[in-house]
């Protein structure tokens, strides 16, 4: 198989040792790379009973066959661990030059276990490793850490680092590289538990050759041209912040901890308005022709005294730190987004957990601190203060640093009924009460309430299905969306590229064949997506998952305010159909016939050897 190395590097931080392990070609064909191959490695290295923050728990970085091939948006790195936030699979994607550096090291993945005796930097140079003290870097942001390390080690090094949130074991801490975050499910917390402030990687090897360079070159150029067409205009021209005004109009903008789906007075937060008032420039991830990362000026809350610095802002941060907390001041939201980046934590969980605390204040719940320290909806200053407290686990922040579900379980008093999460991961900014296909996607998503692992909102926000379609058809559409998302996540292509394909599975199979030389078609690639999703489910089952975990928060299932298209009965029926169509039994467990059809019986066995 071309464009892969067929091996990965295991690093044991406790003993400062590294070992190379082979990856069978059958495994690479079956799981591709990225999240797919990462799931296979995680399943092997994190058996049942391995606690997420135990030194034995793995932290895994994975490249893909597409990285370094010239295919636009393909420089993404998958990061996997057992999530300290959910207890289930934690998988994130982040774009950066680190992905290319890792592939130049001559391996397809790095698996890190163990724990450094003191805070350290892991230095990986090709397949050699060394561990150096990092005490002097504690308390610094990933940007400063990266600048410092690249100054010391050389510009060829690419850095992944945690901020204060990871050092303080905030359960939703992220890992940052090139300013982009592997954000959800807490990989930064796992890195912090290993006393690893940063990993610096330099690869000087040649990238493995692709099977058909000429055909691939033509295809890559065509895809780049298409990536500059109308299908991605929104991302290039306004960025994802463009969602806010439209979602608010459609009453699908979760606001005030999902007490509402629409909020007045948000004009200043509209992507169109931010573009006019705050936008400074834009950037693109490594090897991306689209460039959806828009930067905005940071100012004081009064709107004066421009500080000269800027922040990137995505729709999800805008939603979670704005309307979800009842905040409509753009300067506050931009500062909050910057704080989350500097402390390096997931902005969705940060905003959603603070929104939960705001509702606790409304309902007089005792959170163990004086009332005036609990933020109220709309209080921007309190929002900024509490974000800082979370990152440093101070005051109220210590409770909130475990996420809304754990915090509610700790304080009780009825507050569990207003946590908005699935499996402990808080909901993104698409109100599922109006988006039934997404609602199912969120319920069954293996990493918790994630719009990216299912992308089923695309079905609801289009004319693909009539609103009164049969549930069977809706479930089928949700499954296809999940499998397509797995394909993209395992080829490490950006989801924002998906409209540039007329037939995503067939066209990506064609690219895969040009890259790897392995014959592929749309059907086999969709089966690969199904295999990866099934393995994620199996991993969760090993770590205690039951059907009850595929459930939505009571607030989105209730007909409170007459807003929801959903109900508990609806979800029960949708899950029954989903499990049947997925080849699972009524409890959501894949049947042995499904495992054998997807070859997961023997592929899983082959994984257990190295660990």
């Amino acid at each position: 198989m071309h464009s892969v190395h067929g091996q990965y590097l295991h690093i044991d931080l406790s003993h400062g040792r590294s070992t190379i392990y082979p990856i069978a070609e059958s495994v690479q064909q079956a799981f591709l790379g990225g999240i797919g191959l990462g799931t296979w490695l995680l399943d092997a290295w994190c058996p049942a009973g391995t606690e997420p923050l135990h030194p034995d728990a793995p932290l895994i970085f994975v490249s893909s066959p597409f990285i370094g091939t010239g295919l636009t948006t393909a420089s993404k790195l998958a990061v996997l661990a057992r999530s300290p936030q959910t207890g289930f699979i934690g998988d994130s994607l982040t774009s950066s030059y680190l992905a290319i550096a890792l592939k130049r090291c001559g391996v397809d993945a790095i698996v890190i276990t163990g724990q450094c005796p003191e805070w350290s930097v892991l230095i990986v140079e090709n397949q050699e490793i060394r561990i150096e003290p990092a005490q002097d870097l504690l308390g610094t942001s990933p940007d400063s850490t990266s600048e410092h390390l690249r100054g010391r080690l050389g510009k060829q090094f690419r850095i992944a680092a945690i901020g204060e949130a990871g050092e303080n074991l905030v359960r939703f801490a992220a890992i940052s590289n090139d300013g982009r975050l592997a954000g959800r499910t807490g990989p930064g917390c796992v890195m912090g538990s290993k006393r690893l402030k940063a990993m610096a990687v330099r690869g000087s090897g040649r990238l493995p050759v692709v099977a058909d360079p000429e055909a691939l070159g033509q295809a890559a150029r065509a895809l780049s041209r298409r990536s500059l067409g109308p299908e991605t205009a929104k991302y290039r021209e306004l960025g994802t912040a463009a969602n806010l005004a439209f979602f608010n109009k459609m009453s699908m903008l979760p606001s005030r901890n999902f007490q509402a789906s629409q909020l007045d007075g948000l004009e200043g937060l509209h992507g169109e308005a931010l573009h006019a008032t705050h936008r400074t420039d834009k950037n693109a991830c490594a090897a991306c022709t689209i460039g959806c990362e828009h930067h905005y000026a940071l100012r004081s809350s009064s709107g004066e005294g421009k500080s000269g610095s800027t922040v990137r802002l995505e729709y999800e941060s805008l939603y979670a730190l704005g309307p979800l907390c009842g905040v409509n001041d753009p300067d506050v939201v931009l500062q909050a987004a910057r704080l989350c980046d500097d402390l390096t934590m997931d902005s969705i969980t940060t905003g959603a957990t603070i929104a939960w605390a705001m509702e606790c204040r409304e309902n007089g719940v005792d959170l163990g601190v004086p009332d005036h320290e609990i933020p109220t909806f709309g209080d921007g200053d309190a929002l900024l203060r509490v974000i800082g407290e979370i990152g440093q686990r101070r005051g109220l922040g210590d409770l909130l640093a475990d996420g809304s579900r754990a915090a509610a379980r700790g304080v009780g008093q009825g507050s569990e009924s207003w946590t908005l999460d699935v499996k402990g991961l808080e909901l993104p900014g698409y109100d599922p009460r109006k988006l039934p296909t997404l609602a199912l996607g969120l319920a069954v998503a293996t990493r918790g309430a994630c719009h990216n692992r299912s992308s089923a909102y695309e079905v609801d926000l289009s004319d693909q299905l009539a609103p009164d379609s049969e549930l069977e058809a809706r479930v089928q559409a949700a499954i296809r969306a999940e499998d397509q998302a797995s394909i993209l996540d395992s080829l490490n292509l950006c989801k924002f590229l998906r409209h540039c394909f007329d037939d995503l599975p067939a066209e990506s199979a064609h690219l895969l064949e040009q890259v790897t030389g392995v014959p592929a078609d749309g059907e086999t690639l969709l089966a690969t997506g199904e295999r990866i999703n099934t393995l994620k489910r199996l991993f969760n089952i090993s770590h205690g998952w039951t059907r009850e975990d595929d459930w939505l928060p009571s607030r989105v299932l209730s007909s409170e305010n007459g807003q929801s298209l959903l109900s508990p009965d609806w979800l029960t029926s949708a899950l029954d159909i989903y499990y049947r169509q997925r080849g699972c039994d009524a409890y959501g467990i894949p049947t042995s016939a499904s495992l054998s059809r997807l070859q997961l019986d023997h592929l899983r066995e082959s994984a257990s050897a190295p660990a």
Partner: protein, 91 residues
């Protein structure tokens, strides 16, 4: 003959290009409404019209009364809530 005017609410690039949040135009279906709107705000043509100049390009869609539609024959009247928005909904 009296032709009722229909409001189109713009989001994203169409709003920025047109420099306004709403356009009013006439038309009994989306196809004619769209052409009349583009005649009124010609700058829209550079951004949202397909290469034949007949309909939306692949980046945009209409939403009428909460339903996404790309059908130029979709009936509209002055009571219709017509939105013009990007097809890409990722965030």
């Amino acid at each position: 003959m009296y032709k009722p005017r229909i409001k189109i609410e713009l989001f994203g690039t169409p709003r920025m290009v047109a420099g306004t949040r709403r356009i009013e135009a006439t038309g009994e279906d989306l196809g004619t409404l769209f052409q009349n709107a583009c005649n009124k705000v010609p700058s829209l043509r550079d951004h949202i019209v397909n290469s034949e100049g007949t309909w939306l390009n692949a980046g945009y869609t209409f939403v009428v009364d909460g339903q996404f539609t790309n059908d130029p024959k979709h009936y509209v009247d002055p009571e219709s809530d017509v939105l013009l928005v990007s097809r890409a909904s990722g965030g």
